[in-house]
């Protein structure tokens, strides 16, 4: 390695700095351009009516369009998904940090499985949701409880939520694991020394302490769940429904799916551009607000832990 002396102009250093700075700047610029473009074009469209209105009058007319059913559907999906993914994710993370022996083959296989789950393409999740949940589980439920009548063997909120839950599981597990590891061992040891069982320690001491981290995982999962479209395309999302989903066997409208359909199938792109931008902005806002809520709840719990 050549050590550069201070004589002369160190052009290589400047060049290196410039190149890496340019790379960073380009990325930041891209983010600014994308978000800026969306906010610029979408802000005009996002009004109170837009956010609370429905699809009853003219979905494709900028003045009458509303995205409330899509917001509702997205939130319903995300809620059901969270109810499914957080327990399973937390339990798995608890096992991996508290019980598993780090070099045992089972542990390695579980970790490998989690890594693989994280890498499965979203459309394969869609296929799985269709083939397993809708056809197999749905068909089975129909056979067992309804004598073959069609109740579950169709795209539904529950199947879309289940598919998304499996998809976001790795995120929750990893975040929870980090949070559990961050809990000082001293706390665990103190609890055990006082006579509590391992399970009790985890339930009463470790988990509450790790709650902010668990929430981080949930927030990340929710962020992904609100935005992914491919897994729900065939397992539950619909393009135009006359009423809100009231039952987990109903289909639902979804902001991301709505953006997809509008971009590709609206009759007059120029006329629907404002609605499109508005919907995209609302999607970003909803994702942002969900994240923000999670962050605030997490901060509150953290401060309560510190002062409580």
């Amino acid at each position: 390695m050549t050590i550069l002396r201070a004589k002369g102009y160190d052009w290589r250093s400047t060049a290196f700095h410039a190149v890496t700075l340019a790379a960073t700047a380009l990325i930041v610029l891209a983010v600014i351009v994308i978000i800026g473009d969306i906010v610029w074009h979408g802000a005009k469209q996002v009004s109170w009516h837009f956010v609370t209105g429905g699809t009853k009058e003219g979905m494709f007319d900028a003045k009458t369009a509303g995205v409330f059913p899509m917001i509702f559907g997205t939130l319903a999906l995300v809620l059901l998904m969270t109810v499914g993914v957080v327990p399973v994710g937390v339990i798995t993370a608890v096992y991996l940090t508290e019980y598993a022996k780090s070099l045992s083959p089972i542990t390695r296989i579980i970790r490998s499985a989690i890594n693989n789950l994280a890498g499965v393409p979203s459309i394969v999740f869609g296929l799985f949701g269709l083939g397993f949940f809708v056809q197999f589980v749905g068909g089975g439920l129909d056979q067992m409880f309804y004598g073959g009548e069609l109740h579950y063997r169709k795209p539904a909120l529950i199947w879309a939520a289940a598919t998304m839950a499996i998809m976001t599981l790795p995120v929750v597990i990893v975040a929870t694991e980090e949070a559990l590891r961050a809990v000082p061992n001293g706390l665990r040891e103190a609890s055990l020394a006082l006579g509590a069982t391992k399970l009790k320690t985890i339930w009463k001491i470790v988990l509450p302490e790790a709650l902010p981290g668990v929430l981080t995982g949930a927030i990340l999962a929710v962020g992904r769940g609100a935005g992914e479209v491919a897994p729900i395309m065939f397992t539950g999302a619909a393009y135009y429904l006359a009423h809100l989903p009231t039952n987990w066997t109903d289909q639902f409208m979804h902001l991301g799916y709505h953006v997809f359909v509008l971009s590709t199938q609206s009759p007059d792109i120029e006329r629907t551009k404002p609605i499109l931008y508005g919907s995209v902005l609302v999607l970003l806002l909803v994702t942002f607000l969900l994240n923000l809520t999670g962050v605030l709840v997490r901060a509150k719990i953290r401060s309560r832990l510190r002062h409580g």
Binding site: Y95, A113, N115, P121, L127, K198, V229, G256, N291
Partner: protein, 391 residues
């Protein structure tokens, strides 16, 4: 409970006093339960592959045959045909055949005759769902030379999957060429060269990029990026592999950036400080000391980026043009595996050939990402060992 305080008896806290055998039993059960739930992750991976491959099994095992080799049977001949032969001709089971009344059977025979009279040619006698025709080029009737054609909705459905693989690889490669330099470069800058204050600002901004859903990026690519790139390069096809690749790159950049930055930051600062003490410039430290030390992490980032790019659906569905051509040019439209599945799955009749081949594509895609992850893991592991072993 009495607490008899004597000098040599320890007062047992409540928790221990309650540790009766029944309690211990319940806890043991819960702990088994925790273990089982954790095992479910393995089950999930297995189920995903199993159910996707299950739907594709008939095609994989060469049990499907859509060659139209039968000669049409007239209504008069039907009455003289034995039931088994008629059932095979119509493609139904004997049990089903017995359920139909005469009118239904007659209608079915007429429809079958109509179907068989379509396009009788050398092509119609070929089983287009065989592995051979899914992978080899063929000079179909009406074409001038052997070509790899994916056109599943046609009189002669053509299921060649090669153009789809080429399309996926093209878009992914462009995405990586675009995102790896930018992502790694930004990671080096942010972790090694930038002032802490700038780092605090830039990291969240790039993480913001990861929060943008892929459908929004696809929408942006379709409406804005395509026009920008077309203005820059003046090619004719507005939606092509380049647009899709750049947009894919934007999705992949946060992945590569975050993991690389993590890897670069966790390189022991001792390395860098030793080099600085020896008179190296910061850029040399970053380029020649820290980056090589972080190579396993950076490589893992790229592997993850590859997996993410090849599996991404919405962006390529909206921005790539979806033309299933075998072309090396980045300015040509391309059709990826993921976009094909997403676009065509809604149409297929469950259980039909097209449906099964789409699931086959899904299974192959899963296999590719699985193998990539595995290989990536192994390489990272080896690199780590080499780095640690060389010390």
């Amino acid at each position: 409970m009495n607490e008899r305080l004597t000098t040599d008896t320890v007062v047992l806290p409540k928790a221990q006093r309650r540790r009766t055998p029944r309690r211990r039993w319940a806890e043991w059960l819960v702990e088994r339960g925790i273990f089982l739930v954790s095992l479910s992750t393995i089950l999930m991976v297995f189920l995903i592959f199993a159910f996707v491959a299950r739907e594709a099994l008939p095609v994989i095992l060469r049990k499907t045959n859509n060659a139209r080799s039968a000669t049409p049977v007239t209504a008069a001949q039907v009455s003289t045909m034995p039931p088994e032969q008629l059932a095979t001709y119509l493609g139904v089971t004997i049990a089903d055949l017995k359920k139909y009344n005469a009118e239904t059977v007659k209608a079915l025979v007429e429809l079958k005759a109509e179907e068989l009279s379509q396009n009788v040619s050398a092509d119609s006698r070929v089983n287009t769902t065989s592995w051979g025709w899914m992978l080899r080029a063929r000079q179909w009737v009406g074409y001038d030379k052997p070509e790899y054609i994916w056109q599943p909705v046609s009189e002669i459905p053509k299921y060649n999957i090669i153009p789809l693989f080429i399309g996926s690889l093209k878009a992914t490669l462009i995405a990586l060429i675009f995102s790896v330099p930018l992502g790694v470069g930004a990671a080096i800058y942010v972790s090694q060269l930038a002032k802490p204050k700038i780092r605090e600002v830039i990291k969240p901004v790039i993480e913001l990029l990861s929060g943008i859903p892929s459908v929004v990026l696809g929408f942006f690519a379709l409406l804005v990026l395509a026009s920008i790139l077309q203005g820059m390069f003046h090619y004719s096809s507005r939606l092509n592999a380049l647009v899709a690749g750049v947009a894919l790159g934007l999705t992949v950049i946060p992945v590569i950036f975050t993991i690389s930055e993590d890897a670069l930051s966790t390189v022991p600062s001792g390395y860098g400080q030793a080099a600085l003490a020896l008179g190296a410039a910061p850029w040399q430290v970053a380029w020649q000391i820290v980056l090589p030390a972080a190579l396993p992490g950076v490589f893992a980032a790229c592997v993850l980026g590859f997996g993410r790019a090849i599996g991404e659906t919405m962006i390529v569905l909206m921005a790539s043009g979806n033309a299933s051509i075998m072309s090396g040019s980045i300015f040509d439209s391309c059709r990826t595996i993921t976009a094909t599945i997403a676009a065509e799955l809604a149409e297929v009749v469950f259980g039909g050939n097209h449906y099964r081949i789409l699931f086959l594509l899904g299974a192959l895609l899963f296999a590719v990402t699985f193998v990539t992850n595995l290989v990536g893991d192994v390489v990272v592991h080896r690199l780590k060992r080499k780095l640690e072993g060389a010390r």
